[in-house]
């Protein structure tokens, strides 16, 4: 996972919150900046910036953020004002509400997805509970085409 530089990490909006591998957190995380989780968290994440759940991370709780990217395991709902993205190794059990959704080949999503209303286009879709399991393919390293409901 790309790491931020020292200058990025200490920006005016506040330092990025990082929870490393081997760290267990119980409770709710609130951040005015980006959040990256590589450990285990039982609780909600509320971030003004982007939220990234690393490949070995396990999160049990809701996530509120701008862009939410899942490489690891999440059991909880996602609310993203930007895009919610489930990557090759990502697994999400919960509902997603966001302006855009992308599921890469190999990514697992069990739950409901809902597009946020975009005033200019008035696009709003809500699907019934569904299970999408994208089978691993030979081209896992290449991101699959974004699926936008």
């Amino acid at each position: 996972m790309a790491r931020k530089t020292h200058d990025d990490a200490f920006g005016a909006a506040g330092a990025e919150t990082m929870i490393g591998a081997g760290v267990t957190v119980h409770g709710n995380l609130v951040s005015e900046s980006d959040v990256t989780i590589d450990g285990q968290l039982e609780g909600d994440i509320t971030a003004a910036g982007d939220v990234t759940i690393g490949a070995n991370a396990r999160v049990k709780g809701a996530i509120h953020g701008t862009n939410v990217t899942i490489f690891g395991h999440l059991k909880g709902n996602i609310q993203a004002s930007g895009e919610a993205s489930i990557r090759e190794t990502g697994q999400v059990e919960g509902d997603i509400t966001s302006a855009g959704i992308a599921i890469n080949s190999g990514g697992v999503f069990v739950g409901r997805s809902k597009m946020q209303t975009i005033p200019s286009l008035d696009i709003s879709t809500e699907s019934s509970p569904k299970q999408i399991v994208s089978p691993p393919t030979e081209t896992r390293s290449k991101p699959a085409a974004k699926s936008k409901p």
Partner: protein
Amino acid sequence: MYYYIINPAAGRGQIKNLQDQLRGRLDKLGIRGEWVKTTGPGDATRLAKAAVASGHTTIVAVGGDDTVNEVINGIESDNVAVGIIPIGSANRVATQLGIITWPQACEALAARRLTSYSLIAAGQKFFLSTLTLGFETDLDKTIDTTKPGLRARAKQYAQSLGHARHYSSLKCRIEVDGQFTLNCDLFTLSVANQKFLNPLADNRLIVALSDRPKARLKLGGIVWKTLRSGGQGTLDDTATTRFLADRVVIETEPPTGIMVDGKVAGRTPIAIRLTDRHIRFITEKIVADFKNAIGPRN
């Protein structure tokens, strides 16, 4: 008027040789002021308190980190400006404020650029810069890292790396703002005021910690940075966990010593909080330098 609190023992007594040059420089800049010398540990706190009580609004610590910490512990008014002339063996606070040499410090005192920082309280003690615990604190107790020279540095690195290989991580529990609790194995931990690292950021505690890396190369990197960091610990990109807080309570198993700016200042468990006490520092850091580092957020 400027009030200079001089630690005659700082930097192995180098003020003796510098005194005339320093006074001459301050005279030229028109900021000579009043000079007092400390006579022992804790004296700078007493002198700073007395100076504020008698109406001085600019106190200058002439010494190292110990002198600066003693001075700020004696100032309880928000209207006082604190300056530093770094002549100590360890000048981490001054370095963080962008002040490296004493002639540069004199210019900075005359220019009088002020930045206000909240003090951090660790138990009953106040500090401005960095608190560390874990491997770095243990290292300071066992290996003399003050000797200069390439050969001495190489020996220090080899000894430190050997020490790191045998150092057992601590079991650590941190309660953060009453909102969440963090459990982990701890190799090294640092706490500082975020604003101290970037004057444009808010006053908040930044807590950075890391577990012992499995790869030897990474361990070597942490040891190298620890030796070079000058008390900054893992605040840079070697930290694996980092978050902001206003108050943290740190417990370790087994209990361990904590260091403030390179000096042992207590043991765990300890509560660390950002206080309402502000100190206006005369700094060389120019805010414009940080604007480029931040850049527009996408």
